[in-house]
Symmetry: C2
Subunit: 270 residues, 2 copies
C-alpha cells in the first residue's frame, strides 16, 4: 500500500497561514510527522493561492526536501504549478496528482509525465460528463488516459487510477461505483495501481471516521493499493496493516506482528 500523506494542503486553515507566512518550521514539522506516521510520499497542494501557486509550490517542495528524503506528490489542477513543482523536485521519483480525460489538462500533463518519469494519478473524469455516475463510464475514461500514458512509454507500475469518491449521502450507489471502477481497472490493467482519498465518501453523514475506515477496507478488498490520507491517524494505519495481513500482502504477518509489538494496533483501537 502506497501511503501518500495529505496534510500539506492549503485548503486546511493552519497550513494556509503557515504558507502565507512562509513558516518553514511548521511545514517541515508537518512533513516529518507524516513520514514518521508511515507516509512514503508527501502530497503538496497550495491550490488556494491562485495567483501565487507556482512560486509557493516551488518553496514548499524545497522546504520539505530540506527536512525529508521522501519523494513528493505534486498536486495541482494547474499544469504550470505542476511543472514548477517538478522542476524543484530533487529526491526520488516524483508523483503527479493528476491527469484526467479533460482535454487541456491531458495535453499539458502528458509531456510532464514523460519528461520527469513521474508516477501519475489518473482521475476518472473528462470534459463531457465531469465525474461519471457509473463505473462503466469511469472505466472508459480511465482506459483512454491509461492507453495514452502507455503509448508514450509510461510503465504500468507508474500509473495510479483514482476512481473519484463521491458521498453516499447524495447517492447510495456512489461507494459501489468506486469499488467497481477499481475492480475493472485492475482486471484490465493488472500492472497498474488504484489510489484514492477516502473522506469524501462520508460527507453529510454522522460518524464520518467509522464510514471512512470501513470504506478503506472495502477499497483494499477491491484492489486499492495506494491511498492519500492522514498518516498520523493511528486507527486508519492500524486498519491498513490489518488489511494487508488478511489480503496476503504481508508474508508471515510480519509487519502486522511488528506493528503489534510497537503498540500501534492497540493504539488504533481507541
Amino acid at each position: 500500500m502506497l501511503i501518500v500523506g495529505e496534510k500539506i494542503n492549503t485548503s486546511r486553515k493552519a497550513v494556509k497561514e503557515a504558507v502565507a507566512n512562509q513558516d518553514s518550521a511548521f511545514i517541515r514539522n508537518l512533513a516529518r510527522r507524516q513520514a514518521e506516521g508511515g507516509a512514503q510520499y508527501i502530497d503538496i497542494n497550495c491550490g488556494t493561492f491562485i495567483n501565487r501557486e507556482r512560486e509557493l509550490m516551488t518553496w514548499l517542495v524545497e522546504e520539505v526536501h530540506k527536512e525529508l528524503d521522501l519523494p513528493l506528490c505534486i498536486d495541482s489542477p494547474d499544469p504550470k504549478a505542476v511543472s514548477a513543482g517538478l522542476a524543484a523536485h530533487k529526491k526520488g521519483q516524483p508523483m503527479i496528482n493528476s491527469i484526467s480525460g479533460e482535454k487541456d489538462r491531458y495535453r499539458a500533463i502528458l509531456p510532464l509525465v514523460k519528461e520527469y518519469r513521474a508516477k501519475i494519478v489518473v482521475l476518472c473524469m473528462d470534459d463531457e460528463v465531469g465525474i461519471p455516475h457509473d463505473a462503466q463510464t469511469r472505466f472508459k475514461i480511465a482506459r483512454r488516459v491509461i492507453d495514452g500514458l502507455l503509448e508514450i512509454g509510461t510503465p504500468e507500475d507508474d500509473i495510479y487510477v483514482d476512481p473519484l469518491i463521491q458521498p453516499i449521502s447524495t447517492d447510495t450507489v456512489n461507494a459501489l461505483s468506486a469499488l467497481d471502477t477499481i475492480r475493472m481497472v485492475k482486471e484490465a490493467y493488472p500492472g497498474t495501481h488504484a489510489v484514492c482519498g477516502l473522506s469524501n465518501i462520508s460527507f453529510g453523514l454522522p460518524e464520518r471516521k467509522l464510514l471512512n475506515q470501513t470504506f478503506m477496507i472495502m477499497c483494499m478488498t477491491a484492489g486499492l493499493d495506494g491511498v492519500i490520507l492522514d498518516p498520523t491517524d493511528k486507527r486508519m494505519m492500524a486498519l491498513i496493516a490489518t488489511g494487508e495481513a488478511l489480503l496476503n500482502k504481508d508474508p508471515y504477518c510480519g509487519r502486522y506482528l511488528k506493528a503489534y509489538r510497537k503498540g500501534i494496533l492497540s493504539q488504533g483501537q481507541a
Copy 2:
C-alpha cells in the same frame, strides 16, 4: 445481512454449565440478549454433550421458543440431533447448520431440508479433501451440494454457503481463499447466500478483534450476506450497519442514521 446469534453453544463454559444444570433462566436470558442485539436467528449447539445431544437439543429449542418468537439455527454434525431439534422447532422457518459434501452427512441431512423446508448452511468440505486449501476446490464442493439441494426443490434463497474460515496464522492465503469462494458462489448462483463465522480467521494472532472486524468488512465486500456472531458485540454490529450503508443495502442510509440516533454507532467506536 442475516444475523445468527452464536452464543448458545456448549463449547462455551458458562453455557455448558447452564445446560448441564437445566438452567432455563440463563438460557432464556442469553437468547433474549442476542435478540435485543439484532439476531434474526439463534444458533443452538450442544455438541459437547455427545451422549445426550438429542435430548438437550430438544430442551434448548423448547426453552428458547418459550422466550422468543425468533426461528432457530439447529447446529450439529449429528443428523439425529438435527432431526430432534427440527421436530421441536415451532416458530418460523428453521435453519440447519449444516450439510456438506461428506457422504454420510449429505445423505442424512438432505431429506431433513426437504421435510422441514429449512434454510440450510452448506459447508465447503467433503470426505476426500477435508477443508480444501484453495477457492476452486471449495467452490467445486459447494456446487455439488447446491445442485443436489436445488434438485430436491430447495429455493436458492434458502441456501447459505459457508466457505469455512481458516486462520491466516497457519497460511496467509486463507482469508483470500474464503473471499474468492464467496465471490465464485455468488457469481454462479446469484440467488444463494454466503454465511460464515469470523473468529477463526484470527486464531493464533494478537488483537483478534481488529482482525475479525476487518475481515467482516472484507467478506461483506465479497458478497457475504449472513453471519454467525455475537450480536451483543456493539462494534461489530456498528460495522455491519456501516458496511450495509456503503454497499447500497440501506436505502437513503436510513438504518445507518437510525443506528446513529440510537447511539449504537458511537458506542461501537469504543
